[in-house]
Symmetry: C2
Subunit: 234 residues, 2 copies
DNA sequence: CGCTGTTTTGAAGGATTTCAATCGATGTGG
DNA sequence: CCACATCGATTGAAATCCTTCAAAACAGCG
């Protein structure tokens, strides 16, 4: 990769959990194997079904992982921010990307080729252990969402999706909590329809829990809002 | 661990994908750090919410991972067979078991303490890389089930659950395919109710696709059955 | 200011759940 | 060996949550 980036990227990388606990020297070697990529707003890292060739680490920007059904219905699997690894799945030999990764804002990322990152992981146990940790965390979140989808009603699922968004590290923790997602986005995150999300939000707005706008939801009353996700009797 | 087990266990282990590609010497060292455990039928490896202290590798038997909601509703997260790792999540420091692991038949397993396996993984990159691969695979399955739950109707989800069961490595591939799961089990695997599963199975039986019994479903007409999972217009 | 894409809302319809009752299989003990 | 107890499976009817479709209101942008 180009040399002028090394220093600033090195600083960023030391805060990326995938690279935690590695020596500066190891980091240097890993970095030398990387390529720097820019993805414009609304561009794609890769598409679902393509041969999985590259692992990415997002340095700047926001992206989303989606899956699309044969019938054309879309589901949002995950929202990505700076520091997140994308497609750790490449370590599986002969895998295809199971999702589409799309840049939501302009994105700045490092990429490694499959063989290259696999070799590095085999060499540096700490690197693959970190990778294992990160996939495990994502796995736990997916498991929770699965259980939610299997057992909880729509209103609660939407509330939980909003709370998860707020509690993400990297998002400001200060009230009022503003979430920039459209009704459609929320529907695709919670396995429901645009219409149901809209109705639910309207109801919450009337109760004074949130203020809603075009592509935006702001939680005014955090504590009362929590009750929807937790206690709601039915 | 006791010495008399070493030889037979070594043979089994060489077929466990978590230990693929390790040298006999490395395997030996890893094995020395393991304990051997027997879990009787219907016994528990661990309970959801307990401090995660041990990683297991199932040598013999069948087990299941379940999550239970605060309201007491149960969800089946995964069914485990010989060779499967259990709770790779321990590598996350200070994690709690996110699920309960219960022996469905008598089980025979190896276990490692958290610190011990973490150290081994850091030391042997191949070990953690294998771990990463296995979590990734489970993650992919979970992702697919999530998308299914979010977008598909009950009938298709049940059909898919049955097919996944059949296509599991380790299960005989020969027709007729017999699946030993109760209606309740299937309901907990597909996010529906016992009643809906029963109705669906009855309907399939009338169409001659399956024969159903107490705690058992046999697929007679595999190709026609596939259509339910794939083509079914609505 | 008109255009485009997002959001809202109503009304109708449908898939699935819930509840209740019954049936059937399996295993046990008298 | 049969009556009984138990647990799983079936089935009907009513209720409900959510979707679907259609139409209108609204926001932001060139």
């Amino acid at each position: 990769m180009s040399h002028d980036l090394d220093q600033s990227v090195l600083n960023t990388l030391s805060q990326v959990s995938l690279f935690e606990g590695l020596t500066p020297h190891q980091l240097q070697i890993i970095l030398q194997a990387a390529h720097h990529r820019h993805i414009p707003r609304h561009g794609y890292f890769f598409h679902q079904g393509e041969e999985a060739t590259h692992l990415y680490v997002l340095l700047q920007g926001k992206a989303r992982l989606t899956q699309i059904t044969p019938e054309g219905q879309q589901v949002i699997i995950h929202l990505l921010g700076p520091g997140d690894p994308v497609a750790i799945i490449v370590v599986l030999s002969h895998a295809k990307y199971p999702v589409t990764a799309r840049a939501h804002t302009h994105c700045d990322a490092l990429s490694w080729e499959r063989d290259s990152i696999t070799r590095l992981m085999e060499q540096y146990g700490r690197l693959s252990l970190n990778g294992l940790k990160m996939v495990s965390e994502r796995f736990l979140e997916m498991q929770d969402r699965y259980r939610e989808l299997a057992t909880e009603r729509v209103e609660r699922r939407i509330a939980r999706a909003l709370l998860r968004q707020i509690n993400k590290p990297g998002n400001g923790r200060a009230a009022p909590h503003k979430i920039t997602l459209s009704r459609q986005d929320l529907a695709e995150m919670t396995g429901t329809t645009l219409y149901t999300v809209s109705r639910t939000c309207s109801s919450w707005e009337q109760q004074g829990l949130i203020t809603a706008g075009r592509g935006r939801i702001t939680i005014c009353n955090y504590t009362d809002f929590l009750n929807i996700a937790e206690d709601l009797p039915r």
